[in-house]
């Protein structure tokens, strides 16, 4: 249980309450719940976005605001189709994906190594942790001007920043996850006369996996955020560049199309990680 608590502490924002407890509360909060439950709730989600879309359409149709400021929904969808058909969208997406995967990969390996080392060796932790803390105190954006001076605005800048964004949460969660493995587990392993290797791979890593994986997902979210920022600021290709480029030419339809793709791709990749989590942590279910 305590590893789960650790995971909760480390990730205040995305942990969802267990469905069971939320249901209980909701039942008590709204007596009308039964009514909505019976009326299949899915369609309830539709009116609001449709209303927004209609408002958008009407506002553009009667030019309440200039089309440069708010292009019509048709213009945006047409631009989107054009960008996909011409392959422009796909080319930029490919570049962005490569960057984020490379940067995230570097950050993942570095973060895991650093986190495991700090978790397993208190002496190493004593030496490195304060510096690591100070280093992570400055957000990615704070390092950006410094790195621009040091390595220029080429690929290296993007990879370094993206990997830094991923490394910090991964290293931190790995370290905390290992540190919070209950001593009881280790005692059991000792009673069973596990070798050191078995202790690591059979006890410590599996027990620390939930918080570690949480860190990995956080790391990816941060990496994706860093990718967009660095492409907005210093790039001549990629999704972020499309956004800046569209903005400069006042082609907001291009901006919106690219923004939508950024959102969808980020969401899809996060869902992939969530699926992997189910596979990786599936064995825990039987225990609870």
């Amino acid at each position: 249980m305590s590893t789960q608590q650790a995971a909760l502490e480390l990730s205040p924002s995305t942990q969802s309450a267990s469905p069971k407890s939320s249901h209980v509360v909701a039942a008590a909060v709204t007596p009308q719940l039964r009514f909505y439950d019976r009326w299949s709730p899915r369609w309830l989600a539709l009116p609001f976005p449709l209303f927004l879309l209609l408002l958008w359409y009407v506002a553009a149709r009667f030019e309440w605001v200039a089309p440069q400021v708010l292009p019509s929904p048709q213009a945006v969808s047409q631009t989107f189709i054009d960008l996909v058909a011409s392959g422009e969208m796909f080319d930029n997406l490919k570049i962005s994906l490569l960057r984020v995967l490379l940067g995230f990969g570097v950050g993942l390996v570095g973060g895991l190594l650093l986190g495991v080392a700090m978790g397993l060796s208190p002496v190493f932790k004593d030496y490195v942790y304060p510096l690591f803390k100070a280093f992570s105190q400055v957000p990615v954006l704070g390092w950006l001007p410094l790195l621009m001076l040091l390595v220029g605005i080429d690929e290296a800048l993007k990879i370094i920043l993206i990997s830094k964004a991923a490394l910090v949460p991964i290293a931190l969660n790995t370290y905390k996850g290992i540190e919070n493995v209950p001593a009881r587990y280790v005692e059991v392993a000792r009673v069973l006369k596990f070798s050191r290797w078995q202790l690591l791979w059979r006890v410590i890593f599996p027990a620390a996996l939930p918080p570690i994986w949480n860190g990995v997902r956080y790391g990816f979210t941060h990496a994706w955020l860093a990718l967009v920022v660095v492409e907005l600021l210093a790039s001549s290709e990629g999704l972020g560049y499309m956004i800046v480029f569209g903005r400069q030419l006042f082609q907001l339809d291009v901006v919106m199309a690219a923004v939508v793709v950024v959102g969808v791709v980020g969401y899809t990749l996060d869902q992939v990680l969530a699926r992997i989590e189910v596979v990786l942590l599936g064995w825990r279910r039987s225990g609870f």
């Binding site: 609001f48 001076l149 950024v262």
Partner: protein, 265 residues
Amino acid sequence: MSFLHPEDKHPVPKVLRGWVLPVLLLALWWLAARFHWTNSPLLVPVDKVWDTAVEQVRSGELWIALEASLRRDLIGFAIGVSGGLAFGIAFGLSRLFERMIGPTFHTLKQISLFAWIPLLSVWFGLGDAAKVAFLSLAAFFPVVLNTFEGIRSVPGELIEAARVLKFNRRQWLFKLILPAASPSILAGIHLALIYAWLATLGAEYLLVSGKGIGNTMIDGRELFLMDLVIFGVIVVGFVGFALNWLAARLERRLLAWRGRSVAQF
């Protein structure tokens, strides 16, 4: 993990270990500059950074930039948090509201934060309005999510107890739901503070106008003033640290009433 190393026989005392690496790095930097290991103008001597820092503080440049940044940060933070609280409470209390607005909200949330800036800059101009709007957006999302989570995970037993005690609607909200959800809500506000500070920097880089600590760094980069940039990095780290520390302290004080019994609930 001390059980892996039951006896700590390391020669360096524990308190000093954290200082070893920073001091080594600093010494290396000093030596490299002192003996001109490279001719790059980017390798500025340590004392030059110090001089720049003193100069920035004495001339008041630092305070002007910091004040501009922090003022925007706090205004945007306040707007985002109030909006987020209102929205999150409605979201948490009403199933109907959640089902109607929730999916739209979760879709919008997916959009990478900084991708909003170009759109906001068209809608609000390049000045402070766009920056504040962006900052509020950055603070808004975590507050909504955590408020919602906090309210939805209020234990059902507490709600039953409130029913037995015949709480009226106001008591029910202010004596039960909000206090019970407060740890999660405060965690959301804390997160919002961190995001808002990040967004402050991002807004200053992407909407380059006016003053701010981000602008100071961008200027330093354009003029190849490494000392100014390094000074900026330190200030940014320090402000982030100070905000974080303040938030953590407030959080602890505000939640002190919970004691230990509730924490184990």
